[in-house]
């Protein structure tokens, strides 16, 4: 079974309180914020490794980003992935989710005749949860998002449990397919010291656009149909109004006030 798992390097969520906005450019200032693997991507790797342990095969970790993103791929190798590919090309910079999914899909086709693609459901920085589904569309395979568990009924036919509001649904899925996972799906393993030391000597394949067969200009900032036109810091203020009077009257006043504030 050939499994590809997509990972992304993101600012450390534990340091989010230190992130500030550049008021002129409208972008976030990441200086001094350490980068880590997107937390849900660890669950994606774990699920890929579980699938490999069950059916055999290879797990390839794939990321798109600057050279620094090799650090995240090294962690993926330490966790147990067999190979790692970094898609690194200046022309890919500034991509939105569509312009991320498009080159990633092409890279996956170049990596192997894949059976499963596993992604984290969303990332802590962009939080769009769109790359997984868009990737599946480009690859022309079915996908299931918000996955919290898999019943491996046979090698190529699974029952996938996905979270929905106030419950869950079970979906029958035939491979090849793509899933995006939530943290409930598993408990990611910790690499041992030996895993860490051997990962350091494993190669990470660095690919540029010239290694791909990109047919459409859906890459980078220019190929992105969505643009961030502004960013702002949310101004959260707490206040209180104390309403006095008979119960029915106070309830009416409260509803009126909440409507004025846009809460109802």
């Amino acid at each position: 079974m050939n499994i590809v798992v997509c990972v992304k390097q993101v600012p450390d969520p534990e340091q989010f309180s230190k992130i500030t906005l550049d008021p002129v450019r409208g972008t976030i200032r990441r200086e001094g914020i350490p980068s880590v693997m997107n937390p849900l991507d660890k669950h994606a790797i774990e699920e890929a490794l579980i699938i490999r342990e069950k059916f055999g095969g290879r797990v390839t970790a794939l990321s798109m980003g600057p050279t620094q993103a090799k650090e995240t791929l090294q962690e993926a190798l330490a966790m147990g992935c067999d190979d790692a590919v970094l898609l690194c090309d200046r022309s890919l910079g500034g991509a939105d989710s569509l312009a991320t999914a498009y080159p990633l899909a092409d890279a996956i086709r170049h990596i192997c005749q894949f059976d499963v693609v596993v992604c984290g459901n969303d990332t802590v920085d962009g939080a769009t949860a769109q790359v997984g589904p868009q990737l599946a569309e480009f690859l022309e395979i079915p996908h299931v998002t918000h996955v919290t568990g898999i019943e491996f009924t046979s090698e190529r036919s699974w029952i996938v449990k996905r979270a929905i509001e106030r419950g869950y649904m079970k979906v029958a899925l035939e491979l090849p397919a793509l899933i995006t996972v939530l943290k409930e799906v598993n408990q990611p393993r910790l690499p041992s010291v030996i895993d860490i030391m051997s990962a350091a000597s494993k190669p990470i394949n660095e690919w540029a656009c010239t290694n791909l067969s990109l047919a459409a200009p859906i890459i980078g900032l220019g190929g992105s149909p969505t643009k961030v036109v502004g960013s702002f810091e949310q101004d959260i203020r707490r206040g209180k109004d104390i309403l006095k009077g008979p119960e029915a009257e106070v309830v009416g006043k409260a509803i009126k006030r909440l409507k004025e504030l846009g809460a109802l």
């Binding site: 880590v36 650090e71 090294q74 962690e75 330490a78 910790l190 690499p191 041992s192 010291v193 030996i194 860490i196 030391m197 990962a199 350091a200």
Partner: protein, 384 residues
């Protein structure tokens, strides 16, 4: 000069941090407040992850990642729960001594099992007449053919009742000392009373006496050279005991600072967080400065050991690391308690436990005043 950690060391730190936060932190109430069997599963897990083998060469079952790596592990575990960082030091101590000084059979049969987290040992040094003053110990070893007969009583032995072997310093003559490997199954080994420490009443912290009553120890169990037992002991105490005390104290200090910073940003006084008050800001700056300085004092000698220096060549640096990191931990914990106000001494806020850990490290592996003695000898020379 290169102050950067390697990528492997960064990844190790991430792994140990995850281990401590996800696997140790949820169990702190169990470790701290309940009695019962010592948690062998944690030792096993540390072995699986490779933490017990960090400073043990590959040929003896370790991974040889080194002293900087071990310092990272101590620091990150102690940030969450100092006792397990202290136990990690305890696992490594006797294995380190054997891996560097023999005997060869134990390097093959004992050390790899320690690295896997299957068995544990302790360095059996301290007596009522001497710990730092090793020359005045009363435990004796008398030659009897190809054996030694060991008699004595060791006190303040960490994990005294759950250890599988002991590396024991014993007097063979006026100026002759042997460092011997004794296993739990040897006739005459007795577990004595548990020490009545305020911090040692729960399942995780076991400290007590081990008594050696006419224990027949084969001469093949000598660690280092016959009659020259101080060398392996002092080498190991310096490289692992003192450096460990430094690492554990650093982790304690960092976490006590983190708690103080978080509290100061949230606690309001005079309509604003107390972190806005100059009195508190200056306290936090002082705490931070010492913590950061302790990192340099700790990692520099760790790096030196990884780069070929022998513990006796940097004895002063190793002592300084432990002295400064522990005094930092004590000071930072005290200031953190002060910043927390009345909450500082309530268990719910966690600072008082940090203080307890800092106090434990003040005397472990040589008290802070003993560190000054070692430093003075390095700086000024041996006193008459």
């Amino acid at each position: 000069m290169d102050f950067n950690f390697t990528r492997e060391q960064d990844m190790l730190r991430n792994m140990v941090r995850d281990f401590a936060q996800k696997e140790l932190a949820p169990r702190i109430p169990e470790f701290d407040q309940t009695e019962g069997e010592w948690p062998y599963d944690v030792m096993k897990r540390m072995g699986q992850l490779g933490l017990t083998g960090l400073a043990i060469p590959k040929e003896f079952g370790g991974n040889g990642m080194g002293h900087v790596a071990l310092m990272i592990a101590w620091e990150e575990i102690a940030r969450v729960y100092a006792t397990w960082a202290s136990h990690l030091r305890g696992f490594v101590l006797p294995a380190y001594a054997i891996s560097h000084f023999g005997p060869a059979w134990a390097q093959k049969e004992i050390v790899p099992r320690v690295c896997k987290g299957e068995i544990q040992g302790l360095m059996s040094l301290t007596e009522d007449t001497g710990g730092s003053d090793l020359a005045n110990i009363r435990t004796t070893c008398v030659a009897d053919g190809d054996h030694y007969i060991v008699n004595g009583r060791k006190i303040m032995q960490s994990r005294y009742s759950v250890s599988d072997f002991y590396t024991v310093i014993a007097k063979a003559g006026e100026k002759s000392f042997n460092y011997l490997l004794i296993t739990k199954d040897m006739p005459g080994v007795q577990i004595g009373r548990r020490e009545n420490y305020i911090s040692c009443t729960t399942r995780t912290a076991l400290v007590g006496e081990v008594i050696y009553d006419n224990v027949r120890v084969p001469k093949r169990n000598i660690i280092g050279e016959e009659g020259k037992g101080f060398k392996p002991v002092l080498t190991t105490v310096g490289a692992i005991g003192r450096l460990g005390g430094a690492g554990i104290s650093l982790g304690i200090a960092e976490s006590a600072f983190d708690l103080a910073l978080k509290y100061a940003k949230n606690r309001k006084l005079y309509g604003k967080p107390i972190a806005e008050l100059q009195a508190i800001r200056w306290l936090l700056v002082d705490m931070h400065t010492k913590v950061e300085a302790a990192k340099y004092f700790n990692y520099q000698p760790s790096w030196a050991l990884d780069n070929g220096k022998k513990p006796h060549e940097i004895a002063g640096d190793l002592a300084r690391a432990k002295l400064f990191a522990n005094e930092t931990a004590l000071d930072v914990c005290l200031k953190s308690i002060e910043i927390h106000g009345g909450y500082g001494t309530t268990p719910e806020f966690g600072v008082i436990q940090k203080m307890k850990g800092a106090l434990d490290q003040m005397t472990a592996a040589g008290s802070n005043q003993v560190m000054k003695r070692a430093m003075s000898e390095a700086i000024i020379g041996t006193s008459a």
